[in-house]
Symmetry: C2
Subunit: 455 residues, 2 copies
């Protein structure tokens, strides 16, 4: 029997539409609120930051939204992505489980992020925008938008958290190779940046500050919009190409997943794989357990509160109902930078609140141990974020072994770790910190959520 089971699709199998789970939820999402009035916001409130096409998708009630041919043409550069059965990992775990994984690291930027970056660049370009601003922490999102900007001829300014800018020069080089401008944040290019530098000249920055800088620049210029890599409905929507392909590939494999695992930071790779399967379940089709995995040190779904909160530390964004650790909560440093967000996508939070999905949290030591086992059996070096999905799949596979049952496990390998090797260096040197987050700080952050009339 062949050890390598790779399930490939044809180019004609690239989905022709995105799947909008918001249209099929058993209870509707809570509205997004204006922080000043406490009233639901409308399209006009978002227009300075996003093109109308994306605002339309953000609030759409249609179950499917057609993918423009120009976007599908770029998807063709790396899509459809492969789905593998992890036979070598199964053997190493000595499990009766069948483990499958969808691999999104084949995109030029190395993760699932280009699925939405390309769409966002396209719609901005179509509405006459010439420049996009965004923030990046670990750098996966900034790299993806830089790539998309190069293809559509858009300028891209990436405000990169200063400490990451300094620690990850190769992420910056990647963005610059795609022609983007990468700015250490806080910078002297914005009011908010100058104010922070005046108060704290040696500030190492934060995602909250970087968001504020990117938003300020985009809000002040007609030719410039802002772009976000996760959390928002339209971003999750664009990622559903992942799961739609996986549905077909699992059919070709002749197996349906009993459990699906994906890691969650803002929720986009999770949504991408999971929503098309959940849609079938919500329509009364086949059942499936769905598990979101997150770091114990940023336990948004497992320890957070489902409440209205700001999306950023600087409180410039609208209020959204989501699982949150409080916008002032600062998790300890760990390598899965893409999972260090205090909030969670409203749709993912809503599904968790309704009991439709589960969540598990793991330490980074647990995740890297499984990530290294995966690399040595399946050959791919996973991104630190993706090791959380692997660890979830391993836990489920070992449960199968204990129970002597052969379940089908599917997980999302959302990106490769080629730009994250410092994490592996630290792991092998025994330097991976697993110090827990500060319980008192979390309690404090959770106690200061904004009061919202609508609640």
């Amino acid at each position: 029997m062949s050890d390598t089971v790779k399930i490939l699709l044809n180019e004609s199998d690239i989905p022709e539409s995105w799947y909008n789970i918001a249209a099929e939820l058993p209870e509707p999402l809570q509205p997004v609120l204006h922080p000043g009035t406490g009233q639901p916001i409308g399209p006009d409130d978002l227009a300075p930051l996003f093109p109308m096409a994306l605002i339309g998708q953000e609030v759409s009630a249609e179950p499917t939204i057609e993918i423009p041919e120009e976007v599908r043409d770029v998807y063709r550069m790396w899509r459809p992505t492969p789905l593998y059965r992890a036979r070598r990992l199964e053997r190493a775990l000595d499990t009766p489980a069948r483990i499958y994984y969808k691999y999104e690291g084949t995109s030029p930027a190395g993760s699932h992020k280009p699925n939405t970056a390309v769409a966002q660049a396209y719609y901005n370009k179509a509405e006459g925008i010439t420049k996009l601003t965004t923030e990046t922490g670990a750098g996966q999102w900034g790299s993806a938008l830089a790539f998309a900007g190069a293809l559509f001829g858009l300028e891209v300014d990436v405000y990169m958290v200063k400490v990451s800018f300094q620690q990850k020069p190769y992420r910056r080089a990647l963005m610059e190779s795609y022609g983007a401008r990468c700015v250490a944040s806080p910078s002297d290019e914005t009011e908010v940046g100058r104010r922070i530098l005046a108060e704290t000249p040696d500030s190492t920055g934060s995602l909250g500050i970087a968001i504020s800088e990117a938003v300020e620049v985009a809000g002040g210029r007609d030719d410039t919009k802002y772009s976000l890599g996760s959390v928002l409905n339209h971003v999750l929507l664009h990622q559903t190409v992942v799961g739609q392909e996986a549905v077909k590939q699992m059919e070709m494999a002749g197996d349906y997943p009993d459990v699906i695992v994906a890691c969650t930071g803002g929720g986009s790779n999770f949504a991408g794989l999971v929503f098309p399967f959940l849609g079938e379940k919500l329509r009364g089709g086949r059942d499936v357990r769905v598990v979101a995995t997150e770091p114990t040190n940023c336990p948004t779904l497992t320890k957070g509160k489902f409440a209205y909160d700001f999306g950023d530390t600087g409180h410039l964004t609208p209020l959204v109902k989501m699982h949150t650790l409080g916008s002032t909560f600062v998790p300890p440093g760990f390598h899965a930078g893409g999972l260090r967000y205090h909030g969670m996508a409203p749709i993912v939070s809503h599904l968790k609140d309704l009991g439709i999905i589960e969540a598990m949290a793991f330490t980074q030591s647990q995740c890297f141990a499984s990530g290294v086992q995966f690399a040595r059996t399946e050959g791919i070096i996973p991104a630190p974020e993706a090791t959380h999905a692997i660890q979830g799949a391993v836990v489920e596979a070992l449960k199968c072994k204990e129970e002597g049952t052969a379940r089908n496990i599917l997980f999302n390998l959302s990106g490769h770790g080629n730009f994250d090797m410092q994490a592996y260096t630290d792991y092998f040197a025994g330097d991976l910190a697993d110090e827990p987050y500060d319980e008192a700080a979390l309690a404090e952050a959770l106690s200061t959520l904004p009061p919202v009339a609508a609640e």
Copy 2:
């Protein structure tokens, strides 16, 4: 018209045999000579270092050699690799040429090197070997052998040139993630290493020293063999899966290449793409121009001498007839570490000597300029080595523009640059050195080639 043209094969199209061009050369290769006796060496001379199956392939006169199913099964992890038409690059160059490229960076280790690493690991395992030793400079080869060793359960010790070991910690982390042991060379693990450290305690190492260490360890143990990533006939043989796939893919595209370009260090990615096309030409089939591209600072094919020489600086290897800059020639530092070899594969050298292939040399500044243009149009960050192939293709495409002719250009994009971002950082900072090699040193190295009776 679609901008993305990606030509994919099915798994069943993975070649079932390797193509051995040595069997079809118009004149036979010159024999490999024993440095002491000046007489041709036999299989027994190589047996301490290589398994018999590979020695058989090294001297085979069969035009095809069957690929074991166990090797094809691992190839399936990433093969067949895609062939792209570079429409976006064509448009940026405003050329009537049709530019195609075969992309080998989709392998888990990120280059073409696993094509032979997997085969070598398989044959060693089949003959009861438990451990492989090798050397690595830039790290692409060491990473590939570490990957292959993990899959076949072989220990892998990589002697990495000390200066690279220190400058490229992420390459080391990659090899360790695959379970290999990475040793800074010169080390105190070998006689030659200890001798050099005693003489020069602060030696930064060289590929020649690292080869000597790996050979010494393998030669002294029955359970251990040595593995090489280029130059040798059997290594080039294994790479011909690349070109065999490309022949089919160009047929599917409805175009036959007028010119094929690949970069040359030891010759393996060049041979892999080119030999199956050249085989057709040698059998009286379609004609094709073939261009090897190399760094101006290590101009083996363009400035070297076709003569018997040692493969290593330490003069432990047999003598082979090849283009050489002299085994004592030390090229200036540049980022394409995989192209910094004083010699060239004997078969590639022979083809050049017969006038069947051409060669061009480029500075690294020229190559990086084309590499960045490629990244911004085609989306893939090329390895520094591969930028030499891109630059060759760009020169040919601009020639088409000047002449107003639409030729088909095919090149080998042998690997991605994800582990080489320091090179891009230096390029953007304007720090890429292009200081030429020392003419007097080259003349000196060429004047001290070993005297060989057989010549």
